[in-house]
Structures are given as structure tokens and as C-alpha cells.
Symmetry: none
DNA sequence: GACGGGCGTCTCGTATACGAGACGCCCCTT
DNA sequence: AAGGGGCGTCTCGTATACGAGACGCCCGTC
């Protein structure tokens, strides 16, 4: 037996994740059903969560949503995590230089998780990915950037045997074509996503290395596909690669002595 | 009785908050002590939280920190909890108290966008702004309320070089006179529009702040200019300011200077 | 190298958190 | 206005999660 017999603890997490997953506030009984919790127990639980402000009850709609406290706790993750702390100024530099939205992401399982984002002043709500969002790694430039630095065996391990979901029909359909894409990415030194995730949006990303020389994150930028031409791509990719290296250095990475490294 | 007898649920929250509160990763027994959890139970709990990625165990330091999942869940709070949902009850309160039309607006570019509106019972179709309407920010009280909280540089960035349209001839004609008006607004603590948008209508508005202390919206009320006198304005402005602060708090705003939350 | 304190793991009896179900309210339907 | 279904509240017996304590490992000290 591996684990977990702490019923209400797991349930707390189930409930929070359910609420995080539903775009709309969720009625009590819907939560109970989705999480497999009996009616009375669901009430017990929700009351506790409510007292602690982890959930909010919308009287009007008779439904529950996430409370401020989840945000408060979750956001400290960032402050306690040096990556984000160190990455922030770098993102700001990049954004100031090329005036496009840029972001910082990490690999978590087979997904990338967007840690931070910076966009040029005066732009409305962005068209691109938000902080905290999770996307399949094999469909994003930041994902490719990180994966391209892993060995083939590691990539296989990450994706396992499961099928690859495909959002727009533009991404790799199986492990082999993904590996081919990663090969290209590695050679180029940066990842290039031409409208793979979102039609009309291109993305360029480069990997960030830790002090252990592991690809722990990626810095990426997004821009309108309409603008894209070779000159722009080559300019942007230099900036992104430079930023990624800068952040790597801040994390304690040291350029490997042997041979050359993609700049 | 205040309730809550769901032991492991409360403990989950205790543990998460403890980890959020400690700048450094925390050893198992320190957590157990701080939360008043017996040793074996602490392990049960932490195992569950670890499996779900809510906490991370740093082998090297024999200590625990928050996991990515806390961030993932917490960050959805922002996306899932629209201003409008939290604002609605506040608008209703204001409306019930002073029996005037009130509304909620955000800044979008150089315009304000009216998100929601509430008017007293028994009034016919309003003479004032409707939901979804967009108006030049520099001609509205809600616009002034928000702009007054931005730096001069930001205001200049928003309006750029373009000329200022002027609807009734009553508003500011250029950036400098707008900046002067915004200065007055900031000092007063609320914005006051005396028939600037619509002849015969006055408007009072106050800014709403996000958890990042950014002025993300404003709450405003409209009433017939004929009624206006100093006493009424001072009464109304207090209500509006109170409502704006209430909504700010709901959004996670914390009055400047307050440190950690105790209870 | 022996000693000791601190911590992780595991077991098992028992206090207790859980949940079926009964009840009553509210609102929607006919 | 009466009927009915869905949901919140509460109770109480019991399955079960909890925790004291025993055990052994690891590491730092002498």
C-alpha cells in the first residue's frame, strides 16, 4: 500500500481543484458529486474552508468559488521561489526592448506552467497565456525549449505511453515527430512556435539552466503572426536567448568549459 | 457553536499557511509543533500533500516548502473571480442606501467601460450610462477616479499625443488641465463630475484597488444636478468611498502598512 | 568507535470524525 | 393552492482515521 488515508485532507484538495477547474461557481451538491463526498460531509468541509476564506459562498447563485486565501497562499509560492524572483527583472528588460509580451515557464510533468508574464505598457488584456496556466509541453515553444535540452530517454519518460493530445492540429502527433521538432529546436538554439497553440500567434522561447546545468525553465515571447518575417525572428530570438542565458547565470549556471555553447 | 470539527481539513490549511508564512523551508517537526499536530499524523498529512504537489520536500535540507499546485490553484482565483461578481452586491448596497443609480467601471485604454449598473426600484429607464458602454475616461467621474491613482507618466502614456475630444465643452481640453483635475481628485479622495458628460447630471466616483494595489476599477453614482448641495455631496462621497474600499478588500487589497494577517 | 539525541516508520487500540437518514424549508411546477 | 423535488440542517451509531509509543536509522559529538 502506497499511501494516503487522510480522508478529509485529500478531500480539501479535491474540492479546491474542482473549484479551480470550473469556470463558473459550483453548487454544493455538484461539488459533492464530483468529488464523491456525501452530502453532510461536504457541508462540514465547505464550512471549514469558508471560515478560513479558502472558498466563498455566493448567496445569490447558491454556489461556491475559490476564496482569496487560496490566492494568498498560492502567490507566496512565487515569492519563495527564486526562479521567479530572479526572472522578473529579466522579463521586464526583454519586454522593454522588443515591446512584446514575454513570459517565464517551467516544466511540470508533461505540462508547462506559466510562472510570470510581462507585457508592454498600454496594451489591453493580453491575448496570450496567463500566469498560472498549464499547457501541454509538446504544444508550446517554452515546452520545446525545455524538452530540447533533455535526453531522448528523459523525453520518453516524461510522456510515457499515453497518446498526445493535439489542440489545433498543428502540433506533433506522436513522440517521434516531437523528437524531430526538439532536434531542430536544439540545433537552432531556440524554439519557434508558428501558430501551434493559438492561430495568429507566434512564439519564440529559449531554455534557462540551473546551477546544476539542468533546463529548469524557459523564457518565451509571443507576437502576432502577421508581423513575422525572417529578420524579426532572428532579432527576437537573439534577445530571448540572451535573456535566458542571463537568467541562467543568475541562477548560478556556469557556461560549460568544454566546446561551444549555443549563444 | 462556531463549528468546524473536520480535523485533517483544518490541519491541511494550517500546514499550508505555516509554510506560506516561513521564509525558509520548514522541517517536519517544526511544522508539527507550530500546528500542534502529533508526529505520526504530521507525516500522514504531509505525505498526502506531497503526492498532490501541494508541498515539496527538499531532501537536502530535510525541510518542506510550498508546491507548485498551491500556486496553480491560487492563481486561478484571479481569473475565476470577476470584478463584476464581487461588485454586484456592493452596488446593490450603495443603491439601497442612497437611492441613486450607481455603477462599476474599468479603464480600458483611454476609455472607461461600464461593467455593471444598479438603480433604485421604481425608476424608469435610466438617463445615465448603460452597461457595456464605453466613454472617454477624461470626461467621466469614474475615469478620473481611476486615472487619479496613476502616475503622471502613466496618464500621459494612456492619452498619448492625440487631441482630447470634448463632448459638452465642460471637460478638460488638454492633458495639462486633465492632470490638474486629477490632482484635485486625488486630494479629495473621490472624483466629482458636475454635468461634464450630461447636462443636468452629477457624478461621484471612487477608485477600487486590486490585491496588487493597482486602481483596477471605480464605483460611481449619478444623480440630478438640481439636488446637489454640499451636504449631499459629502454624504454621497462617503458612501461611495466606503463601497469602493469594501470592494477593494474583497479583491484582496490590503490597506498599506498592514503586515501579516493574524486571524 | 561508542554514545546519544533527533527523526522517520510502523503498529494497533480507541476516541472520534463521518455519513445515512429523517426533517423541514424554499421554490418551481401544474 | 397544492404537489413535488432539491437542498440545507441536525442527530446518533459505527466504521475508521488518529496518535502514543516502540523501534531502528542517521549523524554529530566526544
Amino acid at each position: 500500500m502506497s499511501s494516503s488515508q487522510v480522508k478529509s485532507a485529500t478531500r480539501v484538495l479535491d474540492v479546491l481543484e474542482t473549484l479551480a477547474g470550473n469556470a463558473q461557481p459550483t453548487p454544493t451538491m455538484a461539488i459533492a458529486r464530483e468529488c464523491g463526498i456525501p452530502k453532510s460531509s461536504a457541508h462540514h468541509l465547505l464550512n471549514v474552508l469558508q471560515e478560513r476564506h479558502y472558498v466563498v459562498y455566493y448567496e445569490r447563485e447558491h454556489a461556491w468559488g475559490l476564496g482569496v486565501k487560496t490566492f494568498e497562499v498560492g502567490s507566496t509560492y512565487l515569492r519563495r521561489t527564486p526562479l521567479q524572483r530572479l526572472g522578473r527583472p529579466v522579463l521586464e528588460e526583454v519586454c522593454a526592448e522588443i515591446e512584446e509580451t514575454c513570459h517565464l515557464a517551467i516544466l511540470h510533468g508533461a505540462d508547462v506552467l506559466y510562472l510570470d508574464k510581462e507585457q508592454p505598457d498600454g496594451q489591453g488584456p493580453s491575448l496570450v497565456t496567463d500566469i498560472g496556466v498549464r499547457l501541454p509541453a509538446h504544444l508550446t515553444a517554452v515546452g520545446w525549449a525545455i524538452l530540447s535540452q533533455l535526453s531522448e530517454a528523459q523525453v520518453r519518460a516524461v510522456f510515457g505511453a499515453g497518446p498526445m493530445v493535439n489542440r489545433t492540429g498543428a502540433g506533433p502527433d506522436d513522440l517521434d515527430s516531437l523528437l524531430a521538432d526538439l532536434g531542430d529546436t536544439r540545433q537552432r538554439g531556440y524554439a519557434f512556435d508558428d501558430q501551434m497553440v493559438t492561430p495568429g500567434i507566434c512564439c519564440i522561447a529559449a531554455p534557462v539552466f540551473s546551477h546544476e546545468n539542468l533546463p529548469v525553465a524557459a523564457i518565451g515571447i509571443s507576437y502576432l503572426a502577421a508581423k513575422s518575417d525572417d529578420l524579426l525572428v532572428s532579432g527576437y530570438s537573439k534577445v530571448v536567448a540572451g535573456a535566458a542565458q542571463e537568467l541562467s547565470v543568475k541562477l548560478g549556471w556556469q557556461q560549460q568549459g568544454s566546446g561551444r555553447t549555443a549563444a
